[in-house]
Structures are given as structure tokens and as C-alpha cells.
């Protein structure tokens, strides 16, 4: 682990991410009971999912600790995915 973080710090960050993921899961389920409007509910769901995905990729998948070039590399398919989803969603509105 070339991050300069101690094992204890890394372990602590894993548990923090775990708690955050559980809270965000509870949150994304809770907001479905409130009707903000069809589009708003979808946007909230996607934003929470992206936040969870970011936590998993950054901490669990070590993108925070690895060489920064890996982030650009991984970013390319994610860019295509987000573009595809957004384009199709906007076209369908």
C-alpha cells in the first residue's frame, strides 16, 4: 500500500465507507416514500447511487491510493456509460 497511510487508518476508512454505504442505502429507500416528482425522484436515486459508487471505487477499490493515471484510464468507460444513460434519459423525456 503506497499510500503513506497506516493499516489502522486504512482499516478505519473501510469501516467508515461501510457505514456511509449503509446510511446511503437507507436514504435511497427512504426518499422513494416521498414524491418529489417523477424526474426529481430519478435524479435523487442516480445521485445517491453515484455517491455510493464513488466511495466503493475510491476506497474499497484503492483508486485513492493507486497511481493517478489509473483514474483517467477507468474514467473513460465511466464517461461513456454516463453519456449513454444521460442521452437516452433526456431523449425519453
Amino acid at each position: 500500500m503506497a499510500s503513506g497511510m497506516s493499516f489502522q487508518e486504512i482499516q478505519k476508512s473501510y469501516f467508515k465507507v461501510f457505514i456511509a454505504l449503509l446510511i446511503l442505502t437507507a436514504l435511497t429507500v427512504a426518499v422513494t416514500t416521498i414524491h418529489f416528482g417523477d424526474v426529481a425522484n430519478i435524479v435523487i436515486g442516480v445521485v445517491i447511487a453515484l455517491a455510493k459508487a464513488g466511495l466503493v471505487a475510491y476506497i474499497f477499490m484503492h483508486l485513492k491510493f493507486d497511481n493517478k493515471r489509473l483514474r483517467y484510464f477507468v474514467g473513460i468507460p465511466i464517461f461513456f456509460f454516463v453519456t449513454l444513460v444521460m442521452t437516452l434519459t433526456v431523449l425519453g423525456l
Binding site: F15, F60, L91
Partner: protein
Amino acid sequence: MSTLATTHTRFGTGIYHGKLGMWVFLASEIMFFSGFFGAFIVLRNLNIEVFTASAHMLDKTVATVNTAVLITSSLTMALAHLALERGEQGKFRLFLFITILCAFGFLGIKSFEYATKFGHHIYPWTNTFFATYFTMTGFHALHVIGGLIPMIWMLGKSLVKGYPQEMHHRVEALGLYWHFVDLVWIFLFPTLYLIF
């Protein structure tokens, strides 16, 4: 000779081959699942009533529990790698074992969901929503099984003669795959169960 001497090849990304290879594979996996999400959005926009009615037939509670199970397995997988990196064989075995249990738990809950749907005479050919639902969750479940096989192999190896500490990179690469499977579910969960 001179061309060889002047060719400047850059190494040293600081990322070992196994990890880089796994990321290349995961990049292709992102595109694989993108196709499903694209198809889902197009079909949903064409059949909004069918999709809304069908999605309300899914069991949100069971899916929420399954999300928690998969998140827990991601945590224990990360902890298993950390333990092996520190040379703690006992902890490594324990966390890997919990990860395997969670994976079986996820598959069990998913099977229960499928069985309930079949019991209500709902099949992949029932309508376009269930066609995409069973395709997406089915391929995701196959990925879970695909992760279970090397995990069980690693646990078996560690029980027989101990998993070599210097091979912790393999556990990290498997962990990357496992977290990706978790990531796919993080997007499937709101898409199929929550946004309608």
C-alpha cells in the same frame, strides 16, 4: 540499433500487471452492463405504464436486505486483503469465509425472489420489464457465482497450507472484481426497484 536505443518505452505506472489486467477487464465489464442499462431506459420510455406496474410488483424489502448483504461482503473482502497483506492468516480466513457466506446469502435471497416470481407465473417472457429484470439480475448473479469460485479456491488453499502472504496481490485483484459486482448492484437496485 540506433532505433532501439532511441525508442523510449515507458514502464513504471506503479501498477502491477494483475491489477492493471483486472482494471482492463472491469472497463470492458462497464461497457457490457452499459448495454443493458441502455436497453432498459429505451424500453422503459416506450412502455412506461408496463414498467411502472411491473416494478411495483418487486419486493423492495428483500432487495434492500440483499444490498446490505453485498455491501457487507465488500467490506469483509477489503478486510481479508488487508489481513493477508499484514500476514494475519487467521483473520484472512475468517474475513474470506464471511465474504463467501454473504455471497451465498445474496444468491439464496435472489433465488427466493425468483421463486416467488415464478410462483406468481411471472417469467422473463411475461413483458419487457421482466425480460430486462431477469436479464440484468441474472447476469449479475452469474458474476456473483464467478467471484465465488476463486474465493472458495483461495479459502481451500489457505486452509490446506496457508495462503502465501506475498500473493496478497491476487486477493486484491479478486477484491477489485468483487467490489465491481457490488457496484453493478448499487446501480441495479435503484434502477429496478426504486425509481418507479
